[in-house]
Symmetry: D2
Subunit: 408 residues, 4 copies
């Protein structure tokens, strides 16, 4: 195995994309179709039950063996289910992509449940850190330069807010399937005397998916591109957090640091003293990969006529990769946030490094004393004195409290 | 001028990004801030009114001249407004990016109103075409190959649906500003004895923008990346439409064609007979550019500490480019859809080209007669006869009617 | 296994990226280093030989077991080789990335040999087709519209030329390693009394790699980005070929078609008559993925200070993916070109479809008769007659002959 | 004007892409074609001279006015030249893209001369800094952590090397044109009784361009994608330099800093004390944009049949943008390197910050004393003492000298 999501960066979410789960979900779609056919009277109840009960008997190996002969994966699946159920009333009226695209909807729905659970955990970890550091005063930096005092609570609060914004989008995602036939006309169902739209509605309701208003052979890739985009924005927020850890762990700054087990972990082979932010660097490295996954997804929106296959091979890559690596990043980020070391002496030392940052407050005081803005600026530029950093924190504590209250 | 959005592909939306409008919007932000200061009692009513009434007197040229000396655009703006109003109570407590990012929120809000108006027009044009072609039977194609009969109404209906899905996202966009000071603590407002969060709320409400729960020096770029993504998906749907026009206009297919004015338009310089789908090709060409604009937007999410400036120069490019070119594409697509030529003889000729496509129906009939699915497949493969294409249309008409009803 | 390059799109080149080969190549680097140490007198000949002969005894499993304890892959490797050789003079003076980056150079060199071999085969297949179709007259198309007659030989000749241009770049690639220590100073070698630059030169010469003029901890990613770019351009040319096959296989055009085994291959499950260009669509789908791999490669050029690790995790993905999938595409393209079906009746039918394309020749004749260009254009626009297409082929045959001669 | 390359980031190279220069270069192509026609005897010498001498008389305004009527830019150009020369023997046998693509070759050739000149300057500035800092010892950093001592000369030497590698690629670029007619058959020339390949050879030789072995309607976009890639790698190296400046200018590190004119430059509006690395941040911001420009360039390789127009609109953007912004970045980088401030006290302070970094040397000494590598590692981990950093510099000085010698 070569791709690191198979092993090194794998999480439990990866199982969703294994052949075994794909097969099971496709069988579920076939059973839901058989149930719909039974409900509208095309097949008998005992036929439907025969099909339903045969599902556990279908083995991936058997399907693969049939596929070797027929060179068609869905027809192999249908054959295997036919063999197992001894009933030939399977897949009636459906085209391959009715099964495949509906299965994809189910995969993404399964994945999203896990993502949401662990992203909520990350949000909660961030909120806890927001609360525990809300009085931890530090220097704020813009352009890599000391700017004005703030608190660590504000940093964690902002990340909590951003992660929560991503979470809200993921929670309201609709997942789609289809059962509309080869070009979206439902003709094969209608020609059986059924109402295709009723069949589609029943199948998708049974599976917990939504029906697009209209399709061609496949569900519009607009929806998939949006879902992948929303996952990628999660990675981008984690990248931001990881980059901040890396910067604040720099030797000269060293305010916070990734957890580091002295006993079991070797540093560099020639420089054993080093404490590298490897996990954060890893998250930044993965983000570079994930960002680009939106491009094939956007290109796939524009397939020709009622569909071509120029989405298929790249979706086999970008869908599992985006889901698995984003999930891995969420879990790693949760761990990092939970186990982060704080070096309060360094935080305080850095805070007092730039006396002149307090000049701004002087300028504001001069304005209150009645000076015009331009005049106060000039006065403050020449004359100011050191002040207690905490007097520069403005509403910091209240913002953080509000943030915790709203996001919990 | 070199970039084609300055001229060749320019629309009226481009004015939003001209210096003149930028300046005006920033002045509006300063006035809204002065108003908030007046309402909480920091400055007097006559001072606020002096500032407000000075706005029309500020000339872009003057601001530019001051900037040449001070090398700081916002301080130049403040100076120019101070000069014009003879009042020095401007910009109090604000940092440059309070003004700049709030101005950006206003620009995007202005742009979105125009985009929504013209995207609604495109949707309506597509719906009209959906209605007028709902009985126009044609061959459906998958993988570039004839598949099964359908109607043109289904094609236009699907595009209407996709454009409407994009429209819905754009309509629910929130646009943000901020007035939280240099690192998001509101300290400069609070140090004046004001409540910074109240000031921010008043300013943004006055301007019709929303306040983020928490910020650092700038508004999180998460929101900007989402907005640009939503615009780009519009371009991707238009790319899909344009590609379909190009394919259906091919010499051998020639079912539809872009409008073509014989009198005024020259064809190729050596091949004057050609009728090239230039406008559609142009739309596909622009989409290749627009898709990539999401990448800097995603990279900009991850700025360092309380902000760095590595978003600024590329946002000067990707924001106007994405807005202007998407708007240009929407208007071009509307024109194309409205003026599209249909060649019914060719539509009919192509429809009857592949007799064997009717085999599917035969298979379904055999299933109804009691044959098992596998058996029917084999029978149909050997024996089938030509049928009336319209009998293969399934629910086509009903889907289209439903689509029109729901999207109107 | 989830990623399709593990199985579905795997070729023999994938073995290069398996753990087993990685380990073997890194052991080779350690042996080359020991040899250099021996040659400059730091270690004894018997020590070097002991190390060299221990290589086959090192088992991947053992290295993995040590890594579980030490959490450092290179130190685990060194320990395993130390255990197997019973000699502790291994890895002296080297930093981990001396081994890792040199191993990467070896992997890419191995890969490039296979790529070049199979790309040469593809070129030859294209040249054969160029020769065999040099008299096969067909219509040339621009903008999807019939333009002027040409030959299939010209199409294949152009692709041969483009593939050959890619091949030339790949053949002149330099592959790099390094042995310059933790920050590129060679200090750890020099401090042993050796001349580090001599050690590096010896090691890399032994391994058939080149030495960069200067490095920090790693070899500049500029070189890697170029190599991946060159592979991606191969994919882009194949995409162009595949797209042409798809377009020329359209039902209405059907001049050429992918090979299709009637006996074993099922068509669509509902439309068994179809002959879809699945392999070509697959190649276009993969290209969408591969193009984006250049972006992380370009981002990785800019690591911080003497290196950070934000390249590592994404290089584990983009390097094997680009190499394996490009190689898969080359082999698939070779197969397609070799087995392509030609339908000469359709080629001829399409060629005669657009009588008016012969107008251009008329215009040229009028110019020769003495008419001015503008005048001839107007005359030809109204009056022209059908001509033998072959009289429009110009130098087609000679270009093709020249092309074959130069590229063979 | 909205796009910042029109003004804010414009350099003199931008003039190449103005309409005026485009027109002039296209007229040059038409003149070169007329000369070739004269040399093979199709037109008379006086006709050729008439055409040649008319070039200065053609006004852009006139061409634009004709284009408004004819809607075809090349035919408008031909008409304007015909009017100015009173000779109708212009553009004979050529198709529009013979002129347009050859003009593009000329634009890129002009641009490349300027790029090479200024990139050589940047290389020389880097080499000068390499020389002047070759004894400036500093701490080397990996993963943002102190690693081992090195010199500033090594940093500048590596950048000199990387810029020189880019320069070498740019210097060996071939620029192409074509004169092969509508589908690459030369038919329109051959039908005039000329040998089209001779005409093409003469035209391109006259203009200093190369001829592709074979073309369709346009020159293969493979070559353009490579040239843009090479420019983008220049931007990526500059991004690396700029990022290093930003990191080394951080308040806590502050070893070097961008030039800063206290008198004329305002800092932040609320924090006048700050010294922000604005120019370096600007370079990093532009790189995010430039990297993505390779994607449309790669997509454009795969046009349909003998060409479509889906490259044209995006090339109007990505070509000037990549050329102009890369050139701007080169000039900005040269300025930054030349004017960089060094703070030697901070360099020294940081160098002595991490005593434990000297442990590595201890380990090497222990190995020389006869300890095995693993044993020495353990001893050094517990016991080591501070040493003079210069003793850790290894071959640093010699590498830098070699680098200067080879690159000058």
């Amino acid at each position: 195995m070569i791709h690191p999501f198979e092993d090194r960066y794998r999480t439990e979410i990866a199982d969703i994309f294994e052949e075994q789960n794909r097969m099971l979900l496709m069988l579920n779609v076939e059973v839901a179709l058989a149930k719909a056919h039974f409900e509208v009277g095309l097949i008998r109840k005992d036929e439907y039950l025969q099909i339903k009960e045969a599902v556990p008997k279908v083995k991936l190996e058997d399907v693969k063996n049939i596929e070797k002969k027929t060179h068609h994966d869905i027809m192999a699946l249908v054959q295997a289910l036919t063999d197992a159920s001894k009933c030939d009333k399977i897949h009636i009226g459906a085209t391959s992509y009715d099964i495949v695209d509906t299965m994809l909807g189910l995969q993404l729905k399964q994945a999203n449940e896990i993502i949401i659970k662990d992203l909520s955990l990350l949000k909660n970890n961030l909120l806890e850190k927001t609360e525990s550091t809300k009085n931890l005063v530090c220097i704020g930096r813009t352009h890599g330069q000391h700017a004005l005092p703030m608190t660590y609570g504000l940093k964690f609060g902002l990340w909590s807010y951003e992660i929560n914004e991503c979470l809200k989008e993921l929670e309201k995602t609709s997942f789609y399937g289809k059962m509309s036939g080869a070009v979206g006309t439902f003709a094969s169902f209608d020609n059986l005397g059924e109402d295709g739209q009723v069949i589609q509605k029943k199948v998708l309701a049974e599976l917990g998916l939504e029906a697009p208003l209209i399709t061609n052979q496949i569900v519009s890739r607009l929806f998939l591109s949006r879902y992948l985009f929303n996952l990628i924005t999660v990675a981008c927020i984690i990248d931001k957090i990881a980059r901040e850890i890396r910067n604040l762990q720099r030797t000269e700054i060293f305010e916070i640091a990734e957890p580091f087990k002295k006993s079991s972990q070797a540093g560099s082979s020639t420089m054993p003293h080093k404490r590298n932010p490897h996990k954060s660097e890893n998250l930044c490295a993965l983000t570079k990969r994930l960002r680009t996954n939106i491009l094939p997804a956007l290109e796939n929106i524009s397939l020709e006529h009622e569909r071509d296959l120029t989405n298929s091979a790249n979706e086999r890559i970008i869908i599992p990769e985006t889901v698995i690596l984003t999930h891995y990043m969420i879990k790693q980020a949760s761990f990092l946030i939970n186990e982060l070391d704080f070096f309060n002496d360094n935080i305080s030392k850095n805070l007092h490094l730039s006396q002149n940052i307090y000049m701004e407050k002087k300028m504001m005081e001069l304005i209150k004393e009645g000076y015009g803005r331009q005049e106060a600026y000039k006065l403050a530029k020449d004359k100011f004195e050191q002040q207690d950093p905490e007097s520069y924190l403005g509403s910091s504590f209240r913002i953080v409290d509000k943030c915790i209250k709203e996001l919990k």
